[in-house]
Symmetry: C2
Subunit: 353 residues, 2 copies
């Protein structure tokens, strides 16, 4: 119910997915609204389970409190269904922070994972998994080390890469580059068994097939992912201007329409499914807030693949090598946690135990 | 002497500039190499001063020591000439860290400036000045506040904007977004007199004319600037592939050649001159390491405009409001400084006084 175009496009996307994929579907949302959409579109939803959840988590809701206060939101309900084993994966187009906090509180982390992270896909060729693409604004070298492990396993399982190349996002290639965090992380990743660490990666090298998994904190990751989004959009707009400016432009556009369609697909966020919440003990996929039916369908395809892949079992196995967990770094201060929704919520939960 | 294509393209660029701009020129570099280039190209350099500097600062040289150990490098010599008043501006295509450290040590900061910063231009329309685009990996809210002041004055003087819009690069628009640093900086910028603060700017909004000056730390700034560089290059390559793939593509390309030429100019780093070292007491312009003659000429044009603009006098006036300087934030630790070339070098200098 929470995306920019929900519930209409979510229902349409799920309906399209149900025709194509061998899976069963639970729609979690306002029963009446869903019924109206089905009637208007002529969709027969008799093969869907519908769980009524009339409340909506909005983009402006505080991730820290909304999951507790909006018990009947589609987000809370669907995460509860997942936790109870009544579903195998959740796809949401809603508030990222709330979904991340909710997944951590309700579905819970994989044992041994210090902090879950969002794995966003950068629209390069081949694609790059960016971990963390937005959840944890402040991280330690241990979190980043675990992001590398989780991202690596995800790209092995979902993209069929035998030995994904893991890069550390940095402002230079030399081992000494970056802040203390990058220097300490470099030293750890270099020694990490089972990880194909290719060193520091500068941002201008990302489109040049420099790595398969790119590790960074959620603040820098957010800036990078959004700069790709903004520039991809600018690129498509510029080409549109070029080809729709006048008759010559239109003719020109016709001549290369196959090529421009391929470019459009590549930079279209809707093509890339959604971002997995890595480190959560069951598959939760965050699709873009502006997702249309096609984007929702692609995110569902990805959720099915994720659920069938054994990724989470493999992450749980690998992450055991980090046990017993090292104590938190002193950088991980209370002031920061108060702003990082998921982190604070989790701490709260641990205190309550 | 230190750029990827120096001294050939530097000499050619200066020669082209001397034909177009009303200025006198000092070439600082290996006299013999310069003479050979002039002879081979048939350039008459009799109206140039040539100061012999046979040593070269390389890209791998340590910024901390190279300025002291390579006394006869073109970089050291040219900064000394500037400091002595024998020139009005320096343009360099060399090692950014070394130039930044050298400018701080030899030319010195404007009084009251806590840390100089690099002002990189993002190739948006209209352009955005990114401060800091790479010098200070770790900053305090006070540095960022000063970056806003310096960037604002630069865009007023050089781009004729009456009231440049200053944005803070962040992972969301709300005042509470980001790390402690962004929250504290937001609070300061909001209250800063004479600054047209437009709030937090997300990276995907940068191409949408969100601000004229974008303030951030040098680590994030480096990532952002390089991601624009890498994606701009990807965009131009993609269009080239489109228009050179086959006969249809070539015909298509011909039809929109004006439009593609304009796009190419926009994303071509060579068109944007160079990046000013804001906070240094005299004009120092860093041109891209891969600059060709055209890029060097544009950087020279910008250096002349910078020297004539009164920007530095205006920055000096405005920065007085920060005096007496507040003490350093405790975040500004010694460990970090040891890696931030310029910062450490400067501290050393202050100790030696």
């Amino acid at each position: 119910m929470g995306g920019d175009r929900a519930p209409l496009e979510a229902v349409r996307g799920a309906y399209a997915a149900s025709a194509e994929y061998n899976a069963s579907f639970i729609l979690v949302g306002d029963r009446q609204a869903i019924g109206q959409i089905a009637a208007a579109d002529g969709m027969d939803l008799s093969h869907f389970d519908i769980v009524h959840a009339p409340e909506t988590v909005n983009m402006n809701d505080d991730p820290l409190t909304v999951i507790r206060t909006k018990k009947n939101s589609s987000m809370t309900k669907s995460l509860e269904l997942l936790a109870e084993g009544r579903g195998d994966a959740v796809v949401s187009t809603g508030n990222t922070g709330a979904l991340f906090t909710g997944a951590t509180l309700i579905v819970r982390k994989i044992k041994g994972v210090r902090r879950p992270a969002i794995g966003g896909i950068l629209p390069t060729d081949p694609p790059v998994l960016l971990v963390d693409s937005g959840a944890n604004t402040v991280v330690t070298e241990e979190y980043l080390e675990q992001f590398a492990v989780m991202g690596s396993i995800y790209m092995q399982s979902l993209y069929g890469l035998q030995s994904p190349r893991v890069g550390l996002l940095n402002n230079g290639v030399e081992e000494c580059k970056g802040t203390e965090l990058q220097v300490a992380t470099y030293a750890r990743l270099k020694e990490l068994p089972g990880i194909n660490f290719v060193g520091n990666v500068e941002a201008d090298k990302i489109p040049q097939n420099a790595c398969d998994v790119l590790v960074t904190d959620g603040f820098t990751g957010n800036i990078l992912l959004k700069s790709f989004e903004g520039l991809g959009r600018l690129m498509l707009t510029s080409m549109k201007d070029l080809f729709y400016s006048n008759l010559r432009g239109k003719l020109s556009g016709l001549l290369v329409s196959d090529g421009t369609a391929a470019l459009k697909r590549r930079f279209d966020a809707r093509e890339h499914g959604g971002a997995p919440l890595l480190g959560i003990s069951k598959p939760v996929i965050k699709a873009h807030g502006s997702s249309d039916a096609k984007a929702v369908k692609n995110a569902i395809r990805q959720a099915i693949a994720y659920a069938q892949s054994g990724t989470i079992v493999n992450i749980a196995k690998e992450i055991k090598m980090f046990a017993p967990a090292r104590p938190d770094s002193p950088k991980d201060t209370a002031g920061q946690a108060a702003r990082d929704g998921a982190e604070a919520a989790e701490r709260e939960k641990e205190t309550a135990k």
